[in-house]
Amino acid sequence: MNGFRLLLVAALVVAVAFLALPVVAIFLRVPPAQLVEQLADERARDALVVSLRTSLVAHALVVGVGTPAAYLLATRSFRGRSLVVSLLELPLVLPPAVAGLGLLAAFGRSGLLGRELDALGLQIPFTQLAVVLAICFVASPFYVRAAIAAFAAVDVDVVAAARTLGAGEARTFARVVLPLAAGGLGAGSTVAFARGLGEFGATIMFAGSLPGRTQTAPLAIYDALDEAFGVALALSALLVLLSVLVLVLSKVLPRWLRSLQSSPSRAATSTSP
């Protein structure tokens, strides 16, 4: 018993030390004042602007398309549903380099849709649109997965009650289901955003790397590693801080939203019995 508990504690210590050490080491290697100074570097600023722009656009697309798609998958059962869910989750386990090559094979100039896109005057590789698509591809499963779980957890009786009270399907979705699922949606959304911000492999293959245009923060870190190590470290430190923020948000947001909505809705339901 004692030996077993010791084993558990030892395993936890090893895990925490191993996972936290590299993150701590980034901050130990360069003093904070110097980190801030390095972030003023033109390259770092350009990369952050590209990263934020593309991540925000990609995120809007992911949430905009992912939310209704996940609602359908969570509330209807149909033939091939699990196949569809698996397909949507595939990018989660796909190596990023494979994702990049796949995007090129589909949307590249000599890719599957290359001629059609060209006819529309669209050449995607090497543009910010390519960065956005790469981010959407790798990040959307994180959101869709969380959204399906969040919608599935909504009490069907509450939905049914809204419908019998005369609310249409769309109105029920907007006024009842969305608020109830908001916590889970918010958590999935923040994790997907963080994954998109860190996207590297698919982006470097599909969009290339050009400062100010397609070079995102992770690509700039890779580029600066040899001759501008300080810039690479500073960008890394900033991404660590952003990741911590996202992680905290994804844990706090659901709880906060629940407490926010539980008070008025409980008051509303308590009047009925």
Binding site: G108, S110, F126, S209, L210, D223, D226
Partner: protein
């Protein structure tokens, strides 16, 4: 990312080599060489372990303590920086290379020469600043007085990145070493760049001070001798000019 992984792998390999027989006897010569030398020099020292990468990446690894005995760089700058800090011995030049233009195969309206790289809308891929193949390309373009700034769509970390994007047909042109283009001749079409535009490309080798300098010296003798010259010529490298 890859450079860190190779550094770790190289360290692990060296540790394994040392641990095995506890001495220098069983230790392999560790050669850190520019990517463009891949597959060219293995025969010179079959027992050696070759780690390939961008010259500046390898220099950064050596600075970080990676266990190299010899460093073969595709440009002078990465080696000179190490030399200034006393990390490597005296460098010796051992080969030269040429730049070529690569274009996707089977495209009729593609560029035919360096001047055509300035054509509006052309998509050009080069090595990033600090990456020798990129710096050499910029030197050649400057000599040709061709302004391609608006056409560069990506700055890659090595020649492989440039070749890949051209081979896939996504970029219209790239500039790489003749030896890289030769190795990828099934994937890309190669166009010569005139002699007057060629920058002076020198491959330099130096023993790493912390490494086995004796074994390194023996390897460098073979590299700069007849054996090295033959292997380099066979791969398309050219002799040293002036």
């Amino acid at each position: 990312m890859t450079r860190r992984v190779t550094a770790v792998l190289a360290t692990a390999a060296a540790l394994a080599g040392c641990g095995g027989d506890g001495g220098r006897e069983g230790r392999h010569l560790e050669v850190f060489a520019a990517s463009s030398l891949r597959g060219v020099l293995e025969e010179l020292e079959p027992a050696a372990r070759f780690t390939y990468g961008g010259s500046d990446d390898l220099a950064a690894q050596i600075r970080d303590g990676a266990p190299a005995d010899v460093f073969l760089s595709a440009a002078a700058a990465p080696l000179e920086r190490l030399r200034r800090d006393g990390l490597v011995g005296a460098p010796r030049a051992f080969a030269s290379n040429r730049l070529v233009l690569v274009v996707p195969p089977g495209r009729r309206d593609g560029p035919r020469d360096v001047a055509a790289l300035a054509r509006p809308g052309l998509k050009l891929v080069l090595g990033a600043p600090g990456v020798p193949v990129g710096d050499y390309a910029r030197a050649a373009l400057a000599r040709a007085r061709v302004d391609v700034a608006a056409n560069v769509v990506s700055l890659e970390q090595d020649a492989k990145g440039v070749l890949g994007k051209v081979a896939l047909g996504e970029a219209d042109a790239g500039i790489v070493y003749a030896t890289d283009a030769r190795a990828a001749r099934d994937e890309v079409r190669t166009l010569a760049i005139p002699e007057r535009l060629q920058p002076r490309i020198r491959y330099l080798a130096a023993p790493v001070e912390r490494g086995d300098t004796e074994a390194a010296a023996a390897f460098l003798d073979r590299l700069t001798g007849e054996g090295g010259a033959t292997a380099l010529r066979a791969a398309g490298f050219v002799g040293l000019r002036g």
